[in-house]
C-alpha cells in the first residue's frame, strides 16, 4: 500500500478512535503529527471539518504548543542545545557554523531538499556533555563547530550514495 493512502486512512482512523470528539483535539493533533512528522494545513482543515470546529481554533491550538510543527521537517533533525551549560560552552558558535554550512537562518530552518532541519532547544538534559548536539536520536557531546560540520558532511556523503 502506498504511503499517502496509508496516511489518509491513518488520519481517519485517528479521528474514529477519538470518536470525532472536538474535546480531544490535542491528542488528535499529537497522533497526526506522529504520522506526518508535522501538521499539514490541509490535514488541519480536514480535522476541523470532521470535528465541526472552526479551522482558526485548530490553528490556534496547533500554534500554542511549540511541540507541534506547522512546517514539514527534514529527514535529519539537528538539535543544538542552548541551555545555560551549553551556552556558556559556546554552543552559539556551533549554531552559526551549521547555519553557514546549510545556508539556514532563524526564519528558514529547513533545507530546500528537505534533508535537514535545525532546531535550537533549551536543554537536552545532557549538561555534562556540554555543548551537546542531537541528530535525530543520537546525542553527540563535547562538540565543536568543526566536529558538527564533519558529522553533517558524513550524512551528506551517505545520502549521496543512496
Amino acid at each position: 500500500m502506498n504511503t499517502a493512502q496509508r496516511n489518509f486512512e491513518k488520519v481517519c482512523e485517528i479521528l474514529e478512535k477519538n470518536e470525532n470528539n472536538p474535546a480531544r483535539l490535542i491528542p488528535i493533533l499529537q497522533e497526526v503529527q506522529e504520522e506526518y512528522r508535522y501538521l499539514p494545513e490541509e490535514i488541519m482543515t480536514f480535522l476541523a471539518t470532521s470535528l465541526d470546529i472552526p479551522p482558526a481554533k485548530v490553528y490556534g491550538v496547533a500554534t500554542f504548543f511549540s511541540h507541534f510543527a506547522l512546517k514539514p521537517k527534514g529527514k535529519y533533525i539537528i538539535k543544538i542545545c542552548d541551555g545555560t551549560a551549553c551556552h556558556v560552552k559556546k554552543s552559539t558558535s556551533i549554531l552559526d557554523a551549521v547555519r553557514h554550512k546549510l545556508g539556514l537562518t532563524e526564519d528558514k530552518n529547513t533545507t530546500p531538499d528537505m534533508l535537514f532541519t535545525l532546531e535550537l532547544v533549551s536543554c537536552l538534559g545532557a549538561c555534562g556533555l556540554a555543548p551537546a548536539v542531537v541528530i535525530n536520536e543520537d546525542v553527540h557531546g563535547l562538540m565543536t563547530p568543526a566536529k558538527t560540520v564533519a558529522l553533517i558532511d558524513e550524512i551528506l556523503k551517505k545520502e549521496a550514495s543512496l
Partner: protein
C-alpha cells in the same frame, strides 16, 4: 425563604438582585468602574485586570469575574487601585502602533477613553512588538495587528454571538496574536464581514474599511452625477456622532448635509425596500401556492447570505431570489437614469450610506455588476458619513432639514422599518396579507414580530391560512434555528434573518456603542419614524405602482426586465481558500487524475467512503501508477455531493460504484487511444 444579599461598596450598602458579578453590583452603586475586556454581551474573560477592587479579607480581586457574596465589603478607589489602573493602561499603550491621530477608531477608542479616565500622562514602558502588516484583503474591514491588545473581545464576538470562529488566538507569549486560520488574510477564510468584531474591538485593531477618499474624488469630478441612497438605520444613529440621543431621527439634516457635500441627488434606500417588499411578497405567495422551497428565507443581509452559501448549501433554494434593497436601488438607477437624464451610464456614481460593513462586500459581488459596471459604486458607513460631515466643516446640529429628491426618495413606513430586526417580515406581511385576502385593512402593524430577543416566532392568520414565521438576528441564533428546521423540530413559512444582533440598526458601520440599550433606542426611533409617514404599506407607494406600470409594464419584456434588475441567484461557496492536497501522488504524469471533494457537505455525504473505495480499487487492480488521487476543499456544488472529478468529468452524488466504473471507463479509453 429568600434572604436578601447585601454588599457594602465604598461604605454604601447595596442590595444584590440577581447581579452575576461584583462589577454589576458596583455599577448599581453608580460607580463607573473602568473596564476593558468586559462586555455585557460576551462571556467574562477577566484578562485585563482593570476592574481590580479591594475585597475585605481577600485583597485585590477582579470585579468582573468575582461572584457576589453576602456581607462582602468592597473598596473601589484608593491609591493602590488607581496606581494599578495606570500601570495596566500604560502597559496596554506600550504596544506598537497606538497613534491616535491617524487611527480609524480616533474618538471612539476604549483605550483612548481609558487613558483619559485613569489620568495617563506618559507611558513609562518601552514600546514593544514589531511592525506587522495591515490586512486590507477584504472590502469591509481593516485588520491592524499592531494595535491589538489581545483582549479577545472580537474572538468571543465571532464565536459566541456569530457562531463562526473566523478569528482566534494563535501562538503564545510574545508572539501571541489574533489571527484568521493558518495566518491567512480575512478574505481567504470564512469571515462573513458582519464587522461585529470591529464593533467590540476596544482599539483600532479591527475597523471598518473607509472609502471616504474615493467618494470625495467622485464628488469633485465634474463629469460624474453622484447619487446618494440612504439606508433606514442610518437616520436614527448618525446623530450620536454629534452628541444626540440614540434613536433621534436626523433624516432631514442628513439630506441637507449630503447636498452641501455635493451630491447631485439624494434618494432613500427605503424606496427600494418598498420594491423588495412587493417582489419578496409575491415570491412568498407563489411558494405558498406551490408548496415549494419553504421556508422562504430573506436575503437582504449580505453577511447572512455569505454565511448560508458557506454553511448551508442545501438551503440555497430557500433563499429569496430578491436582491437586497441596496442592490435593487443601484440596478434600477443605472437602468433608468441614463435615458431619463441623458447621461452616460459610466458617469453615474451610486454611493450608498449604510449601517453595515458587509454591504461593502455585497456591492462588489460579481452578480451585481453588468458589463463591468457595478450597480453600486461606493459604500459609506454611518461612521464614515459623520467623518465626512466633519471634514466638510458642516455644523450638523444647526442644519435646516430638507427632504429627499423625488421619486426615489418617496417611501412608505414599510420601507423604513426594514432597518429593525423584524421589520422585513412585518413589511412583507403587510403586503402579503392584503394580497392573499384581497381585502384592504386600515390597520397595518403586526406587533407580534417585534421585540428584542434574538429568536422570535409568530403565527399569523391570513385569509384562512396560518402563516408561521420566525425572526432571527445574530448568526449564532441563526445557526441554532436552522438546526431545528433541518431536524424538522421547527416549521416555518418565512424566516427573516439578519446577521447583526437587533438587525441593521446594530450594524458595525453605525456609531460605536457598548450598551444594548442603544440598540433598543434606535429600534424605537425607526418605529417612531414610520409613524410620522402617511403611508405604511409598500403596495400603496404611488411611485412603486408607477414603476410597475411604466418601466416594468410592457408585458413579457417588462416582466423580464423586472426579473433581471431585481432578482439574482445565490449558490454555494467554499469557506476557505485552499488548493487540493495529494492523497496518492505519482512522480510521473499519470493517465488519469482524480479529485475527491472533502468540503464539509461532501464529507458529511460520504466522501470518505468514496475515497477509500477508490484507493482500494487502485490497489486491487494494480493500477496505482496510472492514476493520481487528490482531495480538494469544496467544488462549490455542495448540495449535490459527494462530488468527484474523474479526468475532468464532474460526478455529482457520487457513489463508490459510480466512481469505479468511471475510472475503468476512462482508463480503457486511454488504452484504446495509445
Amino acid at each position: 425563604m429568600t434572604t436578601s444579599m447585601i454588599i457594602n461598596v465604598d461604605g454604601k450598602d447595596i442590595e444584590v438582585n440577581g447581579e452575576k458579578n461584583l462589577l454589576e453590583v458596583i455599577r448599581k452603586a453608580k460607580i463607573d468602574l473602568p473596564t476593558f475586556c468586559y462586555h455585557s454581551e460576551l462571556s467574562v474573560y477577566g484578562a485585563c485586570r482593570l476592574c481590580m477592587v479591594n475585597v475585605d479579607g481577600r485583597g485585590l480581586q477582579p470585579a468582573c469575574s468575582t461572584p457576589p457574596e453576602n456581607g462582602m465589603r468592597v473598596v473601589t478607589n484608593n491609591s493602590e487601585i488607581r496606581e494599578l489602573r495606570q500601570i495596566i493602561v500604560e502597559l496596554l499603550l506600550a504596544n506598537e502602533g497606538h497613534e491616535c491621530a491617524t487611527c480609524g477608531k480616533n474618538g471612539s477608542c476604549q483605550l483612548q477613553l481609558l487613558a483619559k479616565k485613569v489620568g495617563i500622562k506618559k507611558v513609562r514602558f518601552k514600546r514593544t512588538g514589531h511592525k506587522q502588516e495591515t490586512d486590507d484583503s477584504t472590502y469591509s474591514l481593516l485588520r491592524n495587528p499592531d494595535k491589538c491588545v489581545l483582549c479577545g473581545d472580537c474572538v468571543r464576538m465571532c464565536s459566541e454571538v456569530q457562531g463562526i470562529g473566523a478569528i482566534d488566538f494563535a501562538f503564545r507569549g510574545a508572539k501571541a496574536a489574533v489571527l484568521p486560520s493558518f495566518g491567512k488574510d480575512l478574505a481567504s477564510v470564512e469571515c462573513v464581514y458582519c464587522g461585529q468584531c470591529a464593533r467590540v474591538c476596544p482599539t483600532g485593531a479591527i475597523t471598518p474599511k473607509p472609502e471616504i477618499e474615493e467618494v470625495w474624488k467622485a464628488l469633485e469630478n465634474k463629469e460624474k452625477i453622484v447619487i446618494a441612497q440612504l439606508a433606514p438605520a442610518v437616520r436614527v444613529a448618525l446623530g450620536e456622532e454629534f452628541g444626540l440621543e440614540p434613536g433621534t431621527s436626523t433624516m432631514g439634516q442628513i439630506v441637507s448635509a449630503l447636498r452641501l457635500m455635493g451630491f447631485d441627488m439624494v434618494y432613500d434606500t427605503s424606496f427600494a425596500a418598498d420594491l423588495t417588499v412587493i417582489e419578496e411578497g409575491n415570491e412568498l405567495i407563489n411558494r405558498l401556492k406551490e408548496g415549494k422551497n419553504l421556508p422562504l428565507m430573506t436575503s437582504c443581509c449580505p453577511a447572512w447570505v455569505k454565511y448560508a452559501e458557506q454553511y448551508h448549501p442545501d438551503l440555497m433554494d430557500n433563499l429569496s431570489t430578491c436582491k437586497s434593497p441596496q442592490q435593487m436601488f443601484g440596478s434600477l438607477i443605472k437602468e433608468i437614469l441614463p435615458e431619463k437624464n441623458k447621461v452616460e451610464k459610466k458617469n453615474i456614481v451610486v454611493v450608498s450610506i449604510m449601517p453595515c460593513t458587509a454591504k461593502k462586500y455585497e456591492a462588489r459581488r460579481k452578480e451585481f455588476a453588468k458589463d463591468g459596471i457595478p450597480e453600486v459604486d461606493y459604500i459609506l458607513t454611518t461612521q464614515e458619513l459623520a467623518t465626512m460631515i466633519g471634514e466638510a466643516g458642516i455644523q450638523f446640529k444647526n442644519l435646516e432639514p430638507s427632504s429627499f429628491d423625488m421619486p426615489f426618495g418617496f417611501k412608505t413606513g414599510a420601507g423604513v422599518i426594514f432597518g429593525n430586526s423584524g421589520g422585513v417580515a412585518e413589511a412583507v406581511l403587510r403586503y402579503a396579507s392584503e394580497k392573499l385576502t384581497g381585502v384592504r385593512t386600515e390597520s397595518y402593524e403586526f406587533k407580534q414580530v417585534r421585540g428584542e430577543s434574538g429568536i422570535r416566532e409568530a403565527q399569523i392568520e391570513v385569509g384562512g391560512t396560518l402563516l408561521k414565521l420566525a425572526v432571527v438576528s445574530g448568526l449564532k441564533n441563526v445557526k441554532n434555528l436552522i438546526e431545528k428546521v433541518k431536524k424538522g423540530i421547527a416549521k416555518y413559512d418565512i424566516i427573516e434573518i439578519m446577521a447583526c444582533p437587533g438587525g441593521c440598526i446594530g450594524g458595525a458601520g453605525q456609531p460605536v456603542y457598548k450598551e444594548g440599550s442603544v440598540r433598543a433606542k434606535r429600534t424605537k426611533g425607526l418605529y417612531d419614524n414610520e409613524k410620522m409617514l402617511q403611508l405604511h404599506k409598500s403596495q400603496e407607494n404611488p411611485y412603486i405602482a408607477e414603476l410597475y406600470q411604466t418601466v416594468f409594464g410592457g408585458g413579457e419584456k417588462g416582466l423580464h426586465l423586472a426579473h433581471e434588475l431585481l432578482h439574482t441567484h445565490y449558490r454555494s461557496h467554499k469557506r476557505i481558500e485552499k488548493e487540493s492536497f495529494d492523497i496518492h501522488a505519482n512522480k510521473k504524469k499519470t493517465e488519469l487524475d482524480i479529485t475527491v471533494c472533502f468540503g464539509t457537505s461532501c464529507f458529511l455525504r460520504g466522501a470518505q467512503t468514496v475515497m477509500k473505495n477508490i484507493l482500494e480499487h487502485l490497489d486491487k487492480q494494480n493500477i496505482q501508477d496510472r492514476v493520481s488521487v487528490k482531495a480538494s476543499f469544496c467544488f462549490e456544488k455542495c448540495n449535490r455531493g459527494p462530488v468527484v472529478n474523474i479526468g475532468g468529468e464532474i460526478i455529482e452524488k457520487c457513489t463508490p460504484e459510480k466512481a469505479i466504473s468511471e475510472i475503468d471507463r476512462k482508463l480503457q479509453i486511454s488504452v484504446a487511444q495509445s
